[in-house]
Amino acid sequence: MIPAIVVFLYLAAVLYIGIFAFRKAKGKEKAEDYFLASRSLGPFVFLFSLFGTNMTAFAILGSSGHAFSNGIVTFGLMASSSGLIIPLSIFLVGTRVWALGKKYGFMTPVQMFRDRWECGNIGTVIFAVQAVLLVPYIIIGIMGGGTTLSAISSGVVPFWFGGAIVAMVVMSYVFFGGMRGTAWVNTFQTVLFLLFGAVALIVIGTGMGGFRNAAQSMLSAPAFAPLMTRERISPLYFFSYTFIPLSAIAFPHILIFCLTARKMGQFKKTVIFYPICILAIWLPCVFLGVMANRVSDVPEIRAKQEARRVLATQGKNMAPEQRDELREQAAGDDVIMLLLKRYAPLWLAGLLGAGIMAAVMASDSQILALSTMFTEDVFAFYGGKRRFGERVQVQTGRIFIVLITLFAYAVALQAPETIFELAIQYAFSGFAALSPLLIAALFWRGSTKWGALASTVFVATAVVSVAIYQHVVPAPAPGPAIVSWAPGGLEVLTRTPGGTAVFGFMPVVPMVIISALLMIVFSLVTAKPKASTIARYFPKK
């Protein structure tokens, strides 16, 4: 129970920081101050809060869980590819969006799209798709909080209660602190996790009798040696995954965060140090996730390995529901917490658990972003701000924060998927496929609102189609995929144990390509915005 108490103290500290920041805010009823911290964040807070915003339960629990099942491939799959693509997209897109925000006062991506393409209701369609895709991300945070608190307290705090506590804490400091509170909490959390991640690695490594021994015993065990290579994932899948980090810059909370920097120079450190921050957080998580397989004296880990073994050997003869149940049992989202409980002293396990909690609670930015989008793209756009004033706009944003948190919590209690799958299947692929909108708006004079609409409608349709397909065709047991469509023997659509494949690629690849093509084709055949509008975005040098 001591670790749980330490985590509760940590949560109290987070609440204090969030609300303290609110007290310091000047002009607190101004929308720009509440939603964007008056575009005034300094370099240190900007780097760590932007990075912390992107490091969620998915990064910490999902990565170690994925590594537990799939091996070291997880790092190259998700971390190093993100270390290349995300800072590059911040460099190319983030800086330009920041400059446009400063120039024209934008607070959300949709405001920019509406202005750039002279569209009203199409902007509302983009808002709706972005909002629907963002909600799963918020759910992940709450699920991660529930999983972590439950694991830290050895089940004394049940999943539903842990999720409720995390939801309440996050909701409270976002409600009171707005962007300034959220940014400071994120900075505190990121620093905490960077520090404790290294400590966790050393403590667990020592407890295991040294990583050298652990690695050698993994390599000598036929069941675990493949986890030290990348043979469990196909090269095509690995290649496909490099499209997923395109989602980062298309996520509204990241783009909105780019608007908070005081000066453009603050992007420099963020862009350079982003890959290093990813390395510092993901390498320990992935490595510990893999090494957890070697721990034979933790019953929960043994149960997961047994579920994995049964699924691999007998899964073919089981009903889909039985396979799903085994998959849930085999999921390793809590392995880091189990390792801490096994190897760290109680007080340290609590501190390290708080560090993990820090990353898990990154859903704050998504909640705030959704509130900003609702109040700016819907409330203000349809006349609410003009009629009721800015103060009511901020209050509306706060009410929205409460409602969206309650909704996400209710869904988190029902969601059967593992944290990792839920994130990948819906939010990440969808946002990656929306990235052509940003590229077109910022770099192509000829892009039009109809191109944007075609891309957006396609993305929404594709995400729903994948979800329906995966619901209708249950995941097969580990091994060969189910071929659903193979005209002339060419395997076009297959249901794999981990999801869906199109020509062997993850759905995100065709989604991004088709979305970009639709943007190009529809823009070429439809009317452009006025020359004066285009000139504002592409001034003559």
Partner: protein, 78 residues
């Protein structure tokens, strides 16, 4: 010329990320515990950071910064 070289550097990095040559082996095991596939990708992250430094050094969109500063000076002027 700088831009072309930076684009080429990105393409090289992207290809290097797909390191299929270490796909099915854990050896050599670096420092006795890090499989080569993981060590390679960790080094790749450091190379990505170096590439970002090159971008910031040689392709920084300074004109955007100057536009904003000019606008702010105009607004601040009495």
């Amino acid at each position: 010329m700088k831009r072309i070289l930076l684009v080429l550097a990105f393409l090289v990095l992207y290809i290097l990320h797909q390191d299929f040559w270490f796909w099915r082996t854990a050896h050599p095991v670096v420092f006795g515990f890090i499989p080569i596939g993981l060590f390679y990708q960790a080094c790749f992250s450091v190379a990505a950071a170096f590439f970002m430094w090159l971008l910031v050094k040689f392709a920084w969109p300074g004109h955007l910064e100057r536009e904003i500063e000019a606008k702010e000076r105009q607004e601040d002027a009495p």
